[in-house]
């Protein structure tokens, strides 16, 4: 009798499990890996905060299912990122993986997701290899291709009629890629392409060279603290009025404006999003973010929010049948969500096709220093690598 009932229970449980697989899941489980500590920790925190806020304003749900987010800190180390991916994909069996800030860490971690057919939705890193030959059906980019901001900056420099440009970037792969992106759309002559040390503090020598070279414009890709150092010193040297500076959008966002202050005013940059973009989703996002965290959102925060909304739309459109990976992929590719950036669609390599805007750092009506949108540089812009992608 006892044995029979145990068997009956087991059979019933198995039947239930089968039924669940065939029907809707009872929750959506997401693994979120990001750099949350160290000097670059603020970027990961921005993405995480906005991601969790998007779930919170939807009553703790994504696409109608209760959402469970497991957050891990990769400590800016590729091996730690990979271990976390391993844990979330294999033992926690998450439905989606997301969160990673830096390309090098993501490239170490995503193969685990790919091998186990777990979808990775990138809220930031979007390196060129995964856009071209190595494009992958389980890889979606909700941010922008790594080159895009630099391409837009190059286009802007051409549009403004700058005949000569001086370029500065740190001496590592992303630095070289960024200047290549700028040059792809810049039609004038490049006076000099200077590669500085990663983590450099003092830029007096470089600034003096720029002053002597007298270019029409200066483009810098100096992420994080390097950019803060450079901009402070450039403005302090009185150079910003002589040679106008252009930076990629993340190089003059709220996390840079806060420590630099008034010296940022008048700086031009290019990005796929701005706080003042006029659409309902964006207004809701900016208001909710400011209310919750008492600070203004950055492009990174906008990307975190959109990533959550994109995943939510896919869960909704599959009617909660998130175990059916092909159905989820199809729903993701359709990207039926209200993006804070306005129009958004996926290219066939699952990288975005979207607009890029010219922004200027200025004071808003409340006297806060923010980025204001002043024009569109690219309309429906994709990336330069999609032709190498075999995916249809």
């Amino acid at each position: 009798m006892k044995i029979r009932s145990a068997v009956a229970v087991a059979t019933a449980a198995a039947a239930c499990a089968l039924a669940l697989n065939a029907n809707a899941a009872d929750k959506v489980k997401i693994g979120f890996i990001a750099t949350l500590s160290g000097p670059s920790g603020a970027i990961g925190a921005d993405i995480r905060d906005a991601f969790q806020l998007a779930i919170k304003v939807n009553g703790g749900k994504l696409g109608g299912l209760p959402a469970e987010v497991l957050v891990g800190d990769d400590q800016f180390k590729p091996d730690v990122g990979r271990q976390l991916a391993e844990k979330y994909v294999k033992s926690e069996r998450v439905n989606f993986l997301t969160g990673i800030v830096f390309s090098n860490i993501m490239l170490a971690a995503v193969p685990i997701a790919f091998e186990n057919k777990t979808i990775y939705v990138s809220p930031n890193a979007a390196p060129s290899p995964l856009a071209g030959k190595q494009c992958n059906p389980y890889f979606f980019v909700a941010s922008w291709p790594n080159d895009a901001y630099h391409e837009a900056a190059g286009q802007h420099a051409s549009n403004r009629g700058y005949k000569s440009a001086y370029l500065i970037a740190p001496n590592y792969q992303a630095g070289k890629d960024s200047l290549a992106g700028f040059k792809r759309f810049y039609k004038g002559s490049v006076v000099a392409e200077v590669y500085t040390q990663l983590g450099q503090l003092d830029y007096a020598a470089e600034i003096a060279q720029v002053r002597a070279a007298k270019p029409d414009t200066l483009y810098i890709f100096l992420p994080g603290g390097m950019g803060i150092n450079f901009i402070k010193q450039y403005v302090g040297a009185g150079m910003s009025s002589q040679v106008p500076l252009i930076v990629p959008g993340f190089g003059s966002d709220q996390d840079i404006i806060r420590p630099v202050g008034n010296a940022m005013l008048g700086l031009f940059d290019t990005a796929h999003w701005a706080m003042d973009l006029d659409n309902a989703a964006n207004k809701r996002f900016v208001a909710a973010f400011e209310k919750e965290y008492k600070r203004l959102p950055t492009v990174f925060a906008a990307q975190g929010w959109d990533t959550a909304m994109l995943i939510g739309a896919a869960v909704r459109d599959t009617k909660g049948k998130i175990e059916d990976i092909e159905a989820v992929r199809k729903a993701l590719r359709a990207a039926k969500f209200e993006s804070v950036r306005g129009a958004f669609k996926f290219n066939r390599n699952q990288y975005p096709i979207q607009n890029y805007y010219l922004r200027v750092v200025a004071k808003d009506s409340q006297g806060r220093i923010v980025n204001k949108t002043i024009g569109t540089v690219f309309k429906d812009h994709g990336d330069a690598y999609v032709q190498d992608c075999a995916m249809k």
Binding site: S37, G38, P39, G41, A42, A45, N171, E193, V194, Y195, T196, Q197, G199, L201, D202, A204, A205, E206, A208, Q209, R211, A212, G224, G225, I228, N229, K232, Q233, V235, G236, A237, G238, D255, R258, P259, V260, G261, N262, A263
Partner: protein, 305 residues
Amino acid sequence: MSWILIVEQSLNGLQFGLMLFLLAAGLTLVFGIMDMINLAHGSLYMLGAFLASTFVALTGSFTAGVLLAIPATAVLGMLLEITVLRTLYARDHLSQVLATFALILILNEVVRLVWGSDAALPMPAALSGPVELLPGLQYPAYRLVIIGVGILVALLLFVLVTKTKVGMLVRAGASNREMALAMGVNIKLLFTLVFGAGAALCALAGALLAPLFAVQVGMGENILILAFVVIVIGGIGSIRGALVGAVLVGVVDTIGRAFLPLLFGLFFQPRVASAAGPAIASVAIYLLMAVVLYFRPKGLFPARG
């Protein structure tokens, strides 16, 4: 390349060197006198910058903010010495490195809790912008101030170390600690005072450099490596060595970054030059250190005989 550019780059090198000196002076005293490797020296530099940002915001005056940050950091430094570092003097260097590295991590997170990951310290309006030193030579006013303060502090330290009683004790401690102890010097008090002075110099460097550099968590680690290069070149425990070493490093680094790529351009194809120039420039100061150590293994001005 004009002579104006050469003058300007030399000034840049001097300025960068004097700035490194402020940091290296404290480090070399602590290392030389207490025989203590303090990796958390950079954290005091960070604390100084964050404290200065708070005080400048509170008082509304740059000078007052900096002047308040210096004693505040010195007191924090002395508290750190009394509570934690004092127990490490008897240990070997490896334990000191481990313990002070832990301090870096702890202080980074403490600063993040108190201030967040970054802080603003704007340049005083009167000093922002360039001044014309010579016809055609524009130089940022603020960097001139740093050069002035650096020279002033170097002079003050020189007088303090060579002409006063405290300075005599410091020199005695640096050249032979056991003998100084045997002669009845209150080494405990001396160590705490020296550590406080080192922290004060850190705060001065951190506060003065804050308008030029990012005030953010982890800002101390980058500059600490350069400070160690300086004191190894100059000779551990020697203020004079720290000054000469710092200016050497500043000038070599700046001139290397400015002119090596141009120099390479004269001899090699542009592609080779643009790749090799920055690469060699970024290791120039380490080459300098290697050369100095080959000829003078104890540095340029060794404090110990």
